[in-house]
């Protein structure tokens, strides 16, 4: 009975997190894009950049709205479904979430009002400032959320006294070993995800020969960002893997389907593809590359890599899910790098000019269908991160089944069902409305904002 209640609570957290994550990924990236565009507008005084801000802001607002709607339940879910976890760790996880709410979310939500509705009410500089505050709030938000989550991965500054978790050093707990790489990895992921979302939309317009000038401009900015971000993310992924090996060897072994520790003076081979079988504590089939795992994990040919069998079965994370999602994430990371390089090539061959661009249909179709790639890669990465931490809620300190609320399974299952239905509905409606926004296209005619305050009756 209790075991099942834990599973339902976990399923609810998984569903709400996986759904919620889609939106901040996009709103962090879009907010940064809009800052770039608005700065370009104020610098060059070129109207097209103003139109860019306005066009992308429509999608941004929709994204932000669903992000808030799906994020607020998450904040309270720690209490509703994980009250024992909350009572035990509120003095660190709760603190960090309070920082998130006060330092970042409040900032973002307030200045969003000026950003959306204030075009004619504040000066251009003040508007840019609001835009920057929205973007800064969004990114800072991710930082604090990752601080809380990475403390659960690599709890530091903590001691356990008489079954209670006591924080001995708050700075160590906040800036725990996993935080720097975890935050950078996901922050860059949100930029990369947005880059492919925006790039795909540009491709859609260019394929239809609509507003080609407008969207080539956006696309080129995306390519410039991509040249930096796509290789950087692969590097960050590698660095992130090294942190996992150092601090969470069981997770690393599960990700790689690596069962037996390699004896000294031999290299560990890397499972390229295969199928892990946790019952047999082995892979049922596999394709191995000798020495590769030692090279990947230790950056040396014969480095020791701890296998999963070194951990008692009840301390092992589930293997199948992390194993596959990890591989999908890595593959997609390289797909994105390839697409960026292809775009650079096209640019170099002068195929990104207005008169030639729409002809290269294969290229644009690839970019169009790459819209979900970033989302998919990030979600896979998150699954690796969270499932790989099991059976721990706070790694090495608190097990997942110790943190759950004394709430009956019916209530949890009922609310889970409701979340699933509503989230599917929201996703469907979002796709419907955003495709309508896209069909309508950017507004190229409305008057530019004037910063004369309208009379009191003509508001908003």
């Amino acid at each position: 009975m209790e075991y099942a209640a834990v599973d339902v609570a976990r399923a609810q957290f998984a569903v709400t997190t996986i759904f919620h994550m889609l939106w901040p990924l996009l709103s962090i990236g879009l907010s940064l894009l809009m800052v770039v565009m608005e700065i370009l507008w104020l610098r060059t005084n070129d109207e097209i950049y103003y139109r860019q801000v306005r066009f992308w802001s429509v999608l941004f607002i929709l994204t932000f709205g669903i992000g808030v709607a799906s994020g607020v339940p998450l904040e309270f879910q720690f209490g509703t479904n994980w009250s024992r976890f909350s009572a035990a760790t509120g003095n660190i996880v709760g603190n960090l979430l309070a920082f998130e709410a006060t330092m970042s979310f409040a900032l973002e939500a307030a200045f969003l009002a000026v950003f959306i509705f204030g075009w004619n009410r504040v000066s251009k500089r003040m508007h840019l400032f609001s835009n920057i505050m929205v973007a800064f709030g969004a990114s800072l938000s991710a930082f604090w959320i990752m601080a809380a989550n990475s403390w659960m991965q690599t709890p530091a500054g903590t001691s356990v006294e008489g079954g209670k978790i006591v924080i001995t050093n708050y700075l160590q707990a906040t800036f725990n070993p996993d935080l720097p790489i975890a935050f950078t990895h996901i922050w860059v992921a949100s930029i990369e995800t947005t880059l492919f979302f925006v790039g795909g939309i540009c491709a859609w317009y260019i394929l239809r020969n609509r507003n080609v000038d407008f969207f080539l401009k956006t696309f080129k900015i995306m390519v410039i960002i991509g040249i930096v971000v796509a290789p950087l993310q692969i590097f960050l992924g590698d660095a992130s893997g090294l942190t996992v090996i150092k601090h969470q060897p069981a997770k690393a072994a599960a990700m790689e389907g690596h069962w037996v520790t390699n004896p000294p003076d031999t290299g560990a081979s890397w499972v390229l593809v295969g199928h892990p079988d946790q019952k047999e504590q082995d892979n049922s089939w596999e394709v191995r590359i000798p020495y590769m795992l030692s090279i990947l994990s230790n950056h040396s040919v014969k480095g020791q890599v701890i296998g999963l069998k070194d951990f008692p079965v009840n301390d092992q994370p589930p293997v199948t899910l992390p194993f596959y999602t990890f591989r999908i994430m890595v593959l997609l990371g390289f797909v994105m790098l390839f697409l960026v390089l292809w775009a650079v090539w096209q640019w170099y061959r002068k195929r990104l000019r207005i008169e030639f661009a729409p002809k290269h249909r294969l290229f644009w179709n690839f970019w169009l269908y790459a819209i979900p790639v970033g989302f998919l890669a990030t979600e896979c990465g998150w699954i690796v991160r969270e499932v790989g931490r099991q059976p721990w809620l706070v790694y090495g300190i608190m097990r997942t089944n110790e943190g759950v609320s004394p709430v009956g399974i019916t209530a949890t299952a009922g609310s889970l069902a409701l979340f699933v239905v509503i989230y599917l509905l929201l996703l469907g409606i979002f796709i419907y409305f955003s495709s309508r926004i896209l069909k309508k296209g950017p507004d190229m005619t409305s008057p530019l904002p004037t910063n004369i305050k309208p009379d009191s009756t003509r508001g908003y």
Partner: protein, 335 residues
């Protein structure tokens, strides 16, 4: 000195929740009122909350986070014992948020307008049952909730929830009188009169219910120091109601009703908190019991506490940017 930090955080939390109730309560009340009006008036009503309701909802997020960080025990107990009302609040807020966004893009404005109103109603019901539930003698054993899933649902909590509904509608109507003019304003003066009378009736009923039904509450109110200030603030609430009802008759000042509504809410808040002090969850969990360790509260004070006044400042700024009357479809043309 022993309990200085828990008390400080308790009052910061109370202030945050009060801000949420007053600011977002008006938004939610407007949502409920909008259920009974036509489409063109609803647009004006939505314009009145348009730019600021995200910022107002922030106070709930901030309050929830302070509750989690400073009073983890209460956070866990309240949310797991009041699981169903909490879910009502969260789903209600979710409905409201997406309905506003989708309405702006849809031709089926009536449908999304309706969803918006229902979302607001659900969020208010959730809040009402949370307040009512907190007074339902929740059973706490060893820092964990030990009662049943439906303990929050009883005659008293239903009455409190109805009172909250009437009060939020009053707040919404007062806000609309302040922010609109002409037709919509005229209609809301009438709605204000109705909802304020209902809120007053419910208020009196709840007071009587408290004194008769909850022996511990009446004992506390009779003890020191409560005997001095709880009745005082209850009188202030009554005064607020009288002045608000009077302001409905004289159409001179559009702001007066809003101010008196705020007086009513703040005094009710002080009387409530004072009336159950020093308990966090009445009669089962005290403020100091629920609090995080000292070091955690200090850490939070530097990280979050000093930010709170700054949040108030920039919210004042955006309220100033969007001051003045609204009308028509205005809010939508920005999308």
């Amino acid at each position: 000195m022993v309990a200085f930090l828990p008390m400080l955080w308790y009052f910061l939390l109370a202030g945050t929740i009060t801000l949420f109730i007053i600011l977002d309560g008006a938004d939610l009340g407007i949502g409920v009122l909008s259920l009974g009006t036509g489409e063109s008036r609803r647009s004006t009503m939505l314009s009145a909350i348009g730019p600021l309701w995200y910022a107002n909802e922030t106070w709930l997020v901030v309050g929830g986070a302070i509750l989690f960080g400073a009073f983890p025990l209460a956070y866990g107990v309240i949310l797991s014992s009041l699981y169903i009302p909490a879910m009502m609040l969260l789903f209600g807020l979710m409905f409201r948020a997406v309905s506003v966004e989708f309405r702006a893009h849809s031709e089926h404005k009536r449908l999304w307008g309706f969803a918006f109103g229902v979302g607001c109603l659900l969020a208010i019901a959730g809040q009402g049952f949370i307040f009512g539930g907190l007074l339902s003698n929740l059973k706490v054993e060893g820092g964990s909730f030990a009662g049943g899933m439906w303990d929050w649902l009883n005659a008293d909590s239903v009455i409190i929830a109805l009172g909250v509904l009437a009060a939020y509608s009053m707040l919404g109507a007062a806000h609309l009188v302040h922010k609109t003019e002409g037709d919509v304003q005229f209609q809301n003066r009438r709605l204000l009169l109705g909802s304020a009378s209902a809120a007053l009736a419910m208020f009196l009923m709840i007071i009587v219910m408290m004194l008769l039904g909850y022996a511990p509450v009446s004992l506390m109110w009779a003890g020191l120091p409560q005997v001095y200030f709880v009745p005082l603030f209850l009188v202030v609430v009554l005064l607020g109601f009288v002045m608000l009802l009077l302001s409905c008759r004289r159409a001179k000042s559009d702001k007066a009703a809003c101010i008196w509504a705020i007086v009513i809410f703040v005094s009710t808040g002080i009387a409530t908190i004072g009336g159950i002090f020093p308990y966090f969850i009445p009669f089962s969990l005290s403020i100091t019991q629920a609090a995080s360790p000292q070091a955690s509260l200090v850490f939070m004070l530097f990280g979050a506490g000093i930010i709170l006044p700054i949040i108030v400042l920039y919210n004042l700024y955006i309220y100033r940017v969007f001051s003045g009357k609204v009308y028509g479809e205005g809010a939508e043309d920005q999308y």
